[in-house]
């Protein structure tokens, strides 16, 4: 059984005041997320990521299709007791302290009175807020609010955790901590579904990703799968400041930094380039294949889909 099964889920809003016209926020989406994986839901702003998450959380009603989480309907309260959700740029009741907020959410999630206090302590410690649990949230910084948001999402020990843009607005340390936490959740056997437009995070964390653009799913797969075999280039680094003409002739893109030179050229030219360096008696430091980053893949994908949309228009 998949942790999340999305079958043709779609959403069309009516926009305009007098003359209502339909605006498609999400075209029929088919997607499966397996148990225990970290799944990245990628796309630029306005792609339909948050709409999808809101439909899965029962906040927005789909105009078509269906979805099941842990084999249960998305509106089933039993299912909701087993999921956690962190919305984008979360805002909480600022008149409450972190401890009071977690107590409130714990009760809403059905955690019993005896079990709740130790869980709150544990989760506050886990997100590093134990020392300020008695401070009202109105005095919290954005990063601290994000930690509270994470705490409320994992407090009731859900099987699946949904994060909507969990890194947005965080400093590098904060992002690192969220990444570590997601990895820990995976180690605990939980499924993590998170939306982001920060591709480096997705690349570092995800078992699989889905790319969505203009409300349409463009690709799904493991990061390595999506980025493999796209470029076929190598990078050679050598010591020195000179740029042999024979390497330039191979069409290499070269950059001189201090006393090292970095050249990127096609895989076929690899042997010729190595020979040229030997002839020039230059000391080679490294030779590695250039891996397409998720960002390059993503940009390429979006460019292609925009071209297709343009040609259809």
């Amino acid at each position: 059984m998949s942790a999340i099964e999305i079958n043709g889920l779609e959403k069309t809003y009516s926009v305009g005041f007098w003359r209502k016209r339909p605006k498609c926020a999400l075209k029929p989406l088919h997607l499966n997320v397996e148990e225990g994986e970290i799944f990245g839901f990628l796309g630029p702003n306005g792609a339909g990521k948050t709409t999808t998450l809101k439909m899965l959380m029962g906040l927005v009603f789909p105009t078509g299709g269906s979805a099941r989480i842990l084999g249960m309907d998305i509106n089933d309260p039993q299912m909701k007791a087993q999921i956690g959700f962190l919305p984008e740029q979360p805002y909480f009741y600022d008149y409450l302290t972190a401890h009071e907020l977690l107590d409130y959410y714990g009760r809403l999630s059905g955690v019993s009175g005896k079990e709740l206090p130790p869980r709150i302590e544990k989760v506050l410690e886990r997100v590093g807020l134990k020392d300020i649990r008695g401070v009202q949230l109105r005095k919290f910084s954005k990063g601290m609010l994000q930690r509270v948001g994470i705490a409320q999402a994992i407090l009731h020990e859900p099987k699946i955790v949904f994060f909507d843009e969990p890194m947005s607005g965080l400093d590098p340390m904060g992002r690192r901590e969220v990444r570590d936490l997601m990895e820990q959740l995976k180690l605990e056997g939980k499924t993590v579904f998170f939306s982001t437009h920060i591709l480096s995070d997705a690349e570092a964390l995800c078992d699989r990703v889905a790319v969505i653009h203009q409300g349409e799913l463009r690709a799904v797969g493991a990061v390595a799968e999506l980025t493999s075999g796209v470029q076929g280039k190598i990078e050679i680094v050598w010591q020195g400041t000179s740029l042999p003409a024979s390497i330039k002739a191979l069409g290499a893109e070269c950059h001189v930094t201090g006393d090292t030179v970095r050249a990127v050229l096609s895989e076929e030219s690899q042997d010729l380039a190595v020979d040229a360096l030997r002839r020039e008696r230059l000391h080679m430091i490294s030779l590695v294949p250039v891996r397409t980053t998720l960002e390059q893949y993503f940009v390429e994908k979006l460019k292609r889909s925009e071209k297709t949309a343009g040609s259809l228009a």
Partner: protein, 258 residues
């Protein structure tokens, strides 16, 4: 009542307390003690009448203002600030949220009215030096005021479930004003003819009948309250508030939280 409803209700109550809503009690206490001292000096034999009239009217007006201004934001503020997302993504049904909010606000108003009632009885004791049997009817008038609060809370919630806070405030306040004169509207309907009669009758029955719930004047004149009226008003207020809450739930069940 289930744990989710009580949690939402107590959180709503806590919000009102922390937002210093109960500070209105200070204004009320100042008003009432000032009035008690003043009427003790300028009126002869009608001190009690003035204190009961002024005190209960103030309890009613302070409560109505609080009910409207908190009630209109109960749902819309949670949507606007997106605090609702983390509530409804839990095993909380939408109707539980509405009912919890209603009880939270109603509880706030009851606590507020309780302290104000102590103030009213304190002022009564100050001007009359002792309590008399008819003073007990003041408690019935307070009970009717609380019934009014229940209706206004439910209406504010109903409007809050589909419109902006400003429009909700306009709707709720208009209904309060029209409902206060509903008896006059019924009298007008009885005298009118044709379409006007139909329209006036329809409006008179749709708007809440706050006239029947307002017995301040008769209580101030130490007139007893028939038990039938207590039963009728209780049933009427509970039914009216119940229907308004059902409307709020029906609308909110279908609402997309964009």
């Amino acid at each position: 009542m289930n744990q989710r409803i009580t949690s939402i209700a107590s959180n709503t109550f806590r919000e009102a307390v922390r937002d210093r809503v109960l500070y209105n009690l200070i204004a009320f206490a100042l008003l009432l003690s000032g009035a008690a001292v003043l009427v003790g000096q300028i009126s002869i034999d009608i001190e009690k009448l003035v204190v009961i009239n002024l005190g209960l009217t103030a309890v009613s007006l302070f409560g109505v203002v609080i009910a409207i201004f908190i009630g209109i934001g109960l749902v819309s503020k949670e949507i606007e600030k997106r605090t609702l997302y983390t509530v409804l993504s839990r095993p909380v049904r939408r109707w539980e949220f509405i009912i919890g909010k209603f009880f939270g606000l109603a509880g706030t108003l009851v606590v507020n009215a309780f302290f104000m009632a102590i103030g009213v009885f304190g002022a009564l004791l100050y001007v009359a030096h002792k309590f008399q049997a008819p003073d007990g009817w003041v408690l019935v008038a307070l009970y009717f005021i609380i019934l009014q609060f229940l209706i206004i809370c439910s209406l504010a919630l109903l409007f809050s479930s589909f419109s902006s806070p400003l429009l909700s405030a306009v709707f709720a306040f208009s209904l309060f004003v029209i409902g206060t004169f509903s008896e006059d509207l019924r009298n007008f309907a009885a005298m009118a003819t044709g379409v006007t009669k139909w329209l006036a009758t329809a409006v008179a029955y749709i708007v809440p009948n706050f006239s029947a719930l307002n017995i301040i004047s008769s209580v101030a004149h130490a007139q007893p309250v028939p038990s039938q009226l207590i039963v009728y008003n209780t049933v009427y207020a509970l039914l009216y508030a119940g229907m308004a809450l059902c409307g709020a739930v029906l609308i909110f069940q279908r609402r997309n939280l964009k």
